[in-house]
């Protein structure tokens, strides 16, 4: 690993770490400020305005604190099982109204809400400690990794911009030098992802215990989440090494151009010009690693579907991008002159 | 080594020749005694801030002229006959100076007689009354 590039990576990771620490601190502040509202007692107090509401508290054999609220006036029955740090399980039974749908699933992080309409009454089950699919963490980690990758990209262009007399007079081949530089950046990008996941995990832990789900689509999300920013990085490396003079501009325009091209692929081919624009954009977008990440909308049951979109093939494309774009950058590096 | 050795790199005279001349002069003037050790080539090069090979060349020539001798592993020393040579060296130095003076005089067109007069006057100035 190249020392100079590693210093650059380390300085950037320090900034990333500071941002994440600030995030955790905010989470701690949030945790403290909402702690009043975390206990069932607060809810109960809020709900027992109606006369005729009966509240019963019991402790189950396994230590769970059960609160039963019965509001005969509203015909609402609430059972709150407080497992403490392990989360809460709440069952609300109330008369059906137009606000309720037949059957719905909502998943937000570890919170699961299932609403079932039984005709007269509707049951809503809230579980705050469902397992957390890793893909949620990866989604955020991906954004961070992409930002870090964009900042770090152009390491060889930076060397070409005034340091070739150092870089090319080393007792190691140009290839080894380039690989050492790229290795430092790759390590930095992956480290940024890891740090982000850890930070969000810590935030989660402040509120309640978190069970991470690594299975199925989550494993695929992790693989793609690691590979895609690396492919994006490699693409920018190749672009900036070949266009080494204004690499800052290349990096700055990368995101907007990628988004623009992505948007242009949505153009409906209503006429010849639109068809032309659409086709050109489509071809260009095939070269962009971001295109191959599937951002499918969640299904009804709350799951995200990576499986149905040729994951294996798309992952392979990202790996290929990483290798080919990286090789392109290195080829130019081999030929550069001071 | 007394600090009488200085070199002028900007002079047209090669540095090694300057070193040779100055060492010879030092011996003639008695500043360097017979058997006295000269600095090593490296040391003198560093002191004078000149290329060591320049110093080495000077030492080689001095050795060839039998003014100094070098014992491997022990250093370079002024030869005894280097000192007794000093009258010869002095004659060389003086003779060279006279040659330069006469060449210059001739080149501005002075006659032999005129040069003789100038020379007598100079002798008087430098060496005092000829009668004594």
């Amino acid at each position: 690993m190249n020392y100079v590039e590693w210093l650059r990576v380390r300085n950037l990771l320090k900034i990333v770490a500071i941002v994440l620490v600030v995030l955790v601190v905010l989470a701690v502040i949030l945790r403290i400020s909402v702690s009043r509202y975390m206990s069932p007692e607060a809810w109960v107090a809020h709900m027992t305005h109606d006369p005729g509401t009966r509240v019963a508290n019991t402790v189950l054999p396994d230590g769970t604190k059960r609160t039963i609220i019965d509001d005969s006036t509203e015909r609402t029955h609430v059972i709150i099982d407080d497992h403490g740090y392990a989360g809460k399980h709440i069952v609300v039974t109330e008369p059906s109204s137009r606000a309720h749908s037949d059957h719905s699933h909502i998943n937000v992080g570890s919170i699961r809400v299932v609403e079932t309409n039984h005709g007269d009454t509707t049951t809503t089950v809230i579980d705050t400690n469902g397992s957390v699919p890793m893909m949620y963490y990866m989604a955020i980690a991906d954004v961070v990794a992409l930002i870090v990758a964009t900042i770090l990209a152009a390491p060889l262009a930076r060397e070409i911009d005034g340091h070739l007399e150092i870089a090319l007079t080393r007792p190691c081949s140009r290839l080894r030098f380039a690989l050492g530089v790229l290795a430092a950046d790759v390590a930095g990008i992956v480290a940024a992802s890891v740090l982000t996941v850890i930070a969000f995990y810590v935030c989660q832990l402040l509120f309640e215990s978190a069970r991470l789900d690594f299975s199925g689509i989550n494993a695929r999300a992790i693989a793609m989440g690691v590979m895609m920013p690396l492919a994006w990085y490699a693409m920018l490396c190749a672009a900036t090494t070949w266009i080494n003079r204004s690499y800052g501009a290349v990096l700055g325009f990368a995101w907007p151009v990628a988004i623009l091209v992505g948007v242009l692929t949505l153009v409906h081919p209503v006429n010849v010009l639109a068809l032309f624009v659409h086709d050109i954009a489509w071809v260009i977008s095939r070269l962009d690693p971001l295109t191959y990440v599937s951002f499918a909308a969640p299904n009804d049951d709350g799951t995200l579907d990576y499986a149905s979109s040729n994951f294996g093939l798309r992952f392979l494309v990202e790996v290929l991008f990483f290798v080919v774009y990286g090789a392109l950058a290195i080829v130019k590096w081999q030929r550069v002159e001071a | 080594m007394p600090a009488v050795l200085t070199v002028d790199p900007r002079s047209g005279v090669p540095i090694y020749l300057q070193i040779i001349e100055q060492i010879k002069r030092s011996i003639a003037l008695g500043i360097l005694q017979a058997g006295e050790q000269l600095p090593t080539v490296k040391q003198l090069a560093v002191d004078l801030t000149v290329n060591p090979n320049t110093v080495a060349r000077a030492y080689r020539d001095l050795e060839r002229d039998e003014v100094i001798e070098t014992a491997p592993g022990r250093g370079s020393f002024v030869r005894a006959n280097g000192v007794t040579e000093s009258p010869r060296v002095a004659a060389e130095i003086g003779g060279d100076a006279l040659d330069v003076a006469l060449r210059e005089a001739k080149s501005v067109g002075l006659s032999r007689a005129e040069v003789g007069e100038l020379f007598t006057a100079a002798l008087q100035r430098w060496y005092g009354d000829l009668e004594k």
């Binding site: 090319l168 002159e337 | 090669p14 020749l17 090069a45 801030t49 290329n51 060591p52």
Partner: protein, 306 residues
């Protein structure tokens, strides 16, 4: 200790249609100090770049002890470029660490010693250093490399006279240790002290080379004044040792490459009076080689002592 010699044969380097180096050949012996002189734009830096593999020559060969350059040789070759190549955002200490990791024979302690000699604060970032201090840092890092060959492109650029002396002493110390130093400089005084051999480049070509001592001993100006303006020099001017003949009214100056006294005698015999043989120092020799017009008017005449 180094005996690695460098042989440059017919080097040509074109940038577009312009030849920065146009048929340059040179033999640099091992364990020597070699000065490369030349006006700005003569091709010295380009020659260094081709020598060290940073640029690919258009034609010609550069061999180290008969072999072409390979990266492993950079353990034994240290280079100080003309412009600053330090990383602006890194501190001097970090540059020292970078060298420690990159080169096996690098001595951080020696580097720190040298940096102290140049009065560099190692905690400072390179961007806060002046041009001269940046040069000093690069010089310190190179001389702490324990390299057999040092290639220095204007190693005293921007340095004050005290630091220039330090660099000169460093070069001489390396020579004393038996290492090779190849340097280019506009400080002719330094070249005169430190270099044994010099080569003069002009417009991409070699115009002069040799041992400094020999060049000084052999190259002289023979000057004579003729009684009237009607005289001919033909015979003398065609002498193989007469490189140039200049006449201004009755004064004739001949630049000779050897046998100054014999030519002086011939000039006297041809009727000139006031014939003198004048010494040339390295600056004069250099100016005559690259810029004859300037040389003629600026020459400082010194009576020859030989």
């Amino acid at each position: 200790m180094s005996d690695m010699s460098i042989a440059i044969t017919n080097l040509r380097k074109f940038y577009g249609h312009t030849a920065a180096v146009d048929g340059f050949s040179l033999e640099i012996p091992g364990a020597s100090v070699f000065g490369l002189l030349g006006p700005n734009g003569a091709g010295k830096t380009t020659t260094f770049k081709c020598m060290l593999g940073m640029a690919r020559q258009s034609s010609g060969e550069i061999l180290y002890d008969g072999k072409p350059l390979v990266p492993a040789m950079f353990e034994r070759i240290a280079y100080v470029p003309e412009r600053s190549v330090l990383y602006d955002w890194m501190t001097v200490d970090e540059h020292v660490e970078m060298n420690r990791r990159a080169f096996a024979n690098f001595e951080p302690a020696r580097a720190n010693e040298l940096l102290a000699t140049f009065n560099i604060d190692r905690r400072k970032r390179a961007r806060t250093l002046s041009k001269g201090m940046k040069t000093a840092v690069m010089v310190a890092l190179a001389f702490a490399r324990n390299a057999e060959i040092l290639v220095l492109d204007e190693p005293t650029g921007g340095l004050d006279p005290v630091n220039q002396r330090h660099v000169l002493s460093l070069m001489i110390n390396e020579a004393a240790k038996g290492n090779s130093v190849l340097f280019s400089s506009h400080q002719i005084g330094q070249v005169e002290r430190a270099a044994e051999h010099i080569a003069v480049m002009d417009r991409g070509r070699l115009v002069l080379q040799g041992l400094v001592d020999d060049l000084k001993a052999d190259r002289k100006i023979v000057e004579g004044i003729f009684p009237d303006v009607t005289f001919t020099l033909d015979g003398i001017a065609n002498d193989p040792h007469v490189a140039r003949a200049d006449r201004t009214e009755r004064i004739v100056r001949l630049l000779v490459t050897a046998d100054a006294n014999a030519i002086a005698a011939r000039l006297s015999a041809a009727g000139a009076v006031g014939v003198r043989v004048l010494d040339l120092n390295l600056e004069d020799i250099f100016l005559y080689a690259v810029s004859p017009a300037t040389a003629t008017t600026d020459i400082v005449a010194k009576e020859s002592s030989s």
